[in-house]
Symmetry: C2
Subunit: 163 residues, 2 copies
Amino acid sequence: MAESTQHGEDPWEGAAIPAVPDRFLASDLVDEIEFLAARARSLGSAHANAVLAPLDLKVRSYSVLAMACSDTGPSQRELADFLRLDPSQIVSLVDALEQRGLVFRAPDPRDRRSKVIRPTAAGTELHQRAAAAVRVAEETSLASLDGPERDQLRVLLRKIAFS
Amino acid sequence: MAESTQHGEDPWEGAAIPAVPDRFLASDLVDEIEFLAARARSLGSAHANAVLAPLDLKVRSYSVLAMACSDTGPSQRELADFLRLDPSQIVSLVDALEQRGLVFRAPDPRDRRSKVIRPTAAGTELHQRAAAAVRVAEETSLASLDGPERDQLRVLLRKIAFS
DNA sequence: CCCACATAATTGACGTTGTCAATCATAATT
DNA sequence: AATTATGATTGACAACGTCAATTATGTGGG
């Protein structure tokens, strides 16, 4: 053994995040929200997917499960709009969750075309563990922000996400 | 004719953004940065891609072009790290831009393995128009934020994007 | 100097995601 | 009743993400 200072493989969970050369931090791109959001989200969803992997979930499937576990009784069309996914993607996500016994398609009494996605007991239970995992990932992603800053960010994102 | 009030096809540019039912705004998901960021970014990049489409660019290719046009002389590896893309994706992006005569691969005197991406005159010119278009898209995406809020958002995103 | 190992660019494979058109069942409108 | 609109579904295809292998070059230890 004794492979101390060598670093061919980082003996660490997750992928090492390469540092950014200082000269890049002065480029015009770092003033563009579009770019900053893309990079921030790439980092964030990498963390989230990592903590969700042990539960066999990704951010996508987690979002669907979370909505199913909310008391809002979302239809698939509503999920598509809310999560900004194509209806066909919702079909496969719900299919996968349904096959795992986490959610089921309940009939909508108002509209027989529509199906309301509801959680099973197992789904509710898994969601609780997943939500805890996501909170951990969020903690990691937002490590550089203090409490008030995180609240600020939430408020600002909510505004542009639901404008 | 006379299909005035009918709305099979929205006579409007871009895709209409479906409204979100109020009851969803109380779900747990809207407190999670991960979700808010995903939705905000989905909206934002849709806008950005729309304004870039006439220039035959997407946010991806625009980012590479923008970095090429900065005075930072980025190598492909550095672009991969900075933009958080796989090196192989940078290859195709640069290939496409190079074939259009917008950038070229310059040799790196320090390291003959490495190639520095630089803009052509046409690349510089297109970048200026593209940057203006992106500013327009940003204006649209951030319409619900005032000036100080936009600055706040930039600062917060910069922190988490380069932590 | 030589050797072993690390790194930059590239290619190719392969699974995942995004987008679209078509279909069927049911609603809504006229 | 007929027409039109909408929800779910399927299938096709392009775009994207990820990984392994290859080639050329750099780097550090003997």
